[in-house]
């Protein structure tokens, strides 16, 4: 049986783990941004900074064998799934040591070992795929659940509703996590959605939805536990709308001129998920400033190591172009 610690009190160790996991994502993304600036990462690179509480809180609700699938803003999901920062960073730099052996880049990474099913560049495409993963769980009579993440902008793709209907009709164990960071590229939710309360998007499919403060890892976890239990117990899908925010531009090439500087600053200084947890830990006497500094130092070392790995790993061999196209096309 998978764990079901919803009711149990959260221990200090757990809180510290959340802190570490969120900080790892933050530091990793900061570094990825720097490498991009230095030209070591090319093409698209969508940073997750600001949204860390969502994946870290949700990850705590699932266990071995549960699946995760998401879109192209995927680095945080992979780190939260326990994928190795070295392999993620090396994929960002397009190297052989990357999770997709340099073939996927920032948007397209996978890990069979960690049950992470990507990393998808086409907005909304992962939603029916996550639904199918959940179907497999049901078919195989496991009690596994699939977390399917997508953005506020993605909720406007027709295939999302095709998936909702199937999931509800077939009572599939899937939790749809909408990461509402208020913008789809340069277009704010008010300008792209007729119903801006996205947790209601499942109503006509009889899928229950919840709005969640996605800047608070504890609240994310609490809602996540409920939704995962619901899905696991055979009651079908559930929707969680995570109210969150991305601090950086949509991708590295986006100067984010469509929103005000003050808007970003306000959320950063009043709602930051990492600072929020830090404050809680210190105020409750569960950790000292020095403890947290030590954590930061360790994390920076992990990230620095991933950068070394990503720079030292060789570029893929030219003949790798033709591998992994079809089984029989190996080695043309």
């Amino acid at each position: 049986m998978s764990k079901s610690p919803r009711k149990a009190k959260i221990t200090t160790d757990q809180k510290l783990k959340f802190y570490k996991d969120m900080l790892l994502i933050r530091r990793f993304e900061e570094k990825a941004g720097q490498l991009y600036g230095r030209g070591l990462i090319a093409g698209f690179c969508h940073l997750y900074i600001g949204q860390e509480a969502v994946v870290v809180g949700m990850q705590d609700c699932i266990g071995d064998g549960d699946q995760v699938v998401t879109g192209y803003r995927d680095h945080g999901h992979m780190l939260a799934c326990g994928m190795d920062p070295d392999g993620v960073m090396a994929e960002l730099t397009g190297r052989e040591g990357g999770y997709s052996r340099g073939k996927g880049g920032s948007m397209h990474m996978f890990s069979r070992e960690k049950n992470f099913f990507g990393g998808h560049g086409i907005v909304g495409a992962q939603v029916p795929i996550g639904t199918g993963l959940a179907f497999s769980n049901k078919y195989k009579e496991t009690d596994r659940v699939c977390l399917t993440y997508f953005g506020d902008g993605a909720t406007n793709q027709g295939q999302v509703y095709e998936a909702f209907n199937m999931a509800s009709l077939w009572k599939l164990p899937v939790v749809y996590v909408i990461e509402n960071n208020m913008y789809a590229m340069g277009t704010s939710v008010e300008r792209h959605a007729s119903e801006t309360e996205l947790f209601k998007r499942g109503i006509s499919f009889e899928i229950e939805g919840m709005e969640v403060d996605g800047m608070d890892v504890m609240k994310v976890r609490e809602a996540g536990m409920k939704a995962v239990e619901h899905a696991r117990s055979g009651k079908g899908p559930m929707i969680l709308e995570m109210k969150t925010y991305r601090y950086r531009g949509h991708s590295m090439s986006d100067p984010a001129k469509y929103r005000k500087r003050e808007e970003v600053d306000d959320i950063r200084s009043h709602h930051d998920p990492i600072e929020g947890l830090k404050k809680q830990l210190i105020e409750a006497g569960e950790a000292s400033e020095d403890d947290l500094k030590a954590i930061d130092k360790d994390i920076k070392a992990v990230v620095a190591k991933s950068v070394d790995f990503a720079q030292e790993s060789p570029l893929p061999d030219p003949k790798e172009l033709w591998t992994d196209v079809l089984i029989e096309s190996e080695g043309v």
Partner: protein
């Protein structure tokens, strides 16, 4: 007359079309308020208002479908699909509806609309942001497929497309937006301001659909190209000192077979180039046409230089791209044949 980038030329065409005809409406993802991710529609919403230039949610099928309805009832939508790679969610509407409305209504209804989309690689976009799907459109009867290679042509072809009474797929080589990329990826880009074809006249003009352009005259071999590959072809011919005639097809459907046939009959040799994958690429069609029209004039088999039959790679972009080296080798080979 002023020099413009391809982006500015496209923007200019929008302004002129919207000024001239209030039936023209422009929409797509991030197109209105933000002015488009490549800035091709910047300033339109300010000037023409939200009723005529607006943002659409991310729903390509819905966007194209809605445009078809608008077009069928008197409007002239010119819509943007943010990257050609996102046309697939809309492919059903494009093929089954836009392309077929005229035929299945016995000519009662048509869909005069333009679907613009940036195409091709060169920006490390990987498999979901680099594809060249022109053959998927050219294959569909009932669609026109256009692909400019210069700012001058981009403006004139876009105006002609908007004024055309059939659905037009308008592919914009994104690697050409800011400069004429000739395949020398190690060198910094030469901006359009240094290029003659960036002279874009003010005001209205059109470049007719179905008319190719000889961009370099030559006697020994004909290179058929479009989009980014036009610049690669010109550069390669010059570097190799080969007297090649380079033809920029400009529109794939309708295709200017006359210009092609005249050239190949003169040179007796032909190389076809494109960035898209090889199997069933548009080049296969071109080879067939050259064989049909010029067989007895040919002194060597027609050569194809294309992208490989693989997904567009991420880090191995330049191993995939059919740049000057591959084209040069094909030119040498055909000249020796």
């Amino acid at each position: 007359m002023a020099k413009k980038t391809m982006i500015e030329a496209i923007r200019d065409a929008h302004h002129i079309a919207m000024e001239a005809d209030e039936k023209v409406v422009v929409f797509g993802e991030d197109v209105g308020y933000f002015g488009g991710v490549f800035r091709c529609t910047a300033g339109l919403q300010e000037k023409f208002g939200k009723a005529r230039c607006f943002d659409a949610p991310i729903c390509e099928g819905g966007i194209v479908g809605a445009a078809i309805g608008m077009a069928a009832y008197g409007l002239r939508p010119c819509i943007e699909i943010q990257f050609a790679d996102y046309a697939y969610p809309a492919y059903d509407q494009i093929v089954s509806e836009a392309a077929r409305l005229r035929h299945r209504s016995g000519g009662q209804f048509t869909a005069p609309m333009v679907i613009r989309m940036p195409t091709g690689g060169g920006i490390f976009g990987g498999q979901t942001h680099s594809q060249s799907p022109e053959a998927l459109f050219a294959h569909v009867s009932g669609l026109k497929t256009v692909i400019p290679s210069t700012p001058y042509d981009a403006k004139g072809l876009l105006l002609a497309s908007i004024e055309d009474n059939d659905p037009v797929i308008f592919l914009e080589p994104k690697r050409l937006y800011n400069g004429p990329f000739d395949g020398e990826h190690d060198k910094s880009i030469v901006p359009w301001s240094k290029h003659d074809d960036a002279e874009v006249p003010d005001g209205h003009y059109t470049v007719p659909l179905g008319k190719a352009k000889i961009v370099r005259e030559g006697k020994d071999v004909t290179i058929l190209a479009y989009g980014t590959m036009v610049h690669v072809a010109k550069k390669t011919a010059e570097d190799q000192g080969i007297d090649a005639e380079v033809i920029d097809l400009r529109t794939l459907v309708p295709l200017d077979t006359e210009t092609i046939a005249q050239s190949v009959q003169k040179t007796g040799r032909c190389v076809v180039v494109h960035e898209a994958t090889r199997t069933c690429g548009y080049g296969a069609e071109l080879v067939s046409i050259v064989n049909e029209l010029c067989f007895w004039a040919l002194e060597a088999p027609v050569e194809r230089v294309t992208g490989w039959d693989t997904p567009y790679p991420h880090s191995q972009e330049w191993d995939y791209f059919p740049g000057p080296k591959r084209l040069g080798a094909a030119l040498n080979q055909i000249m020796e044949a």
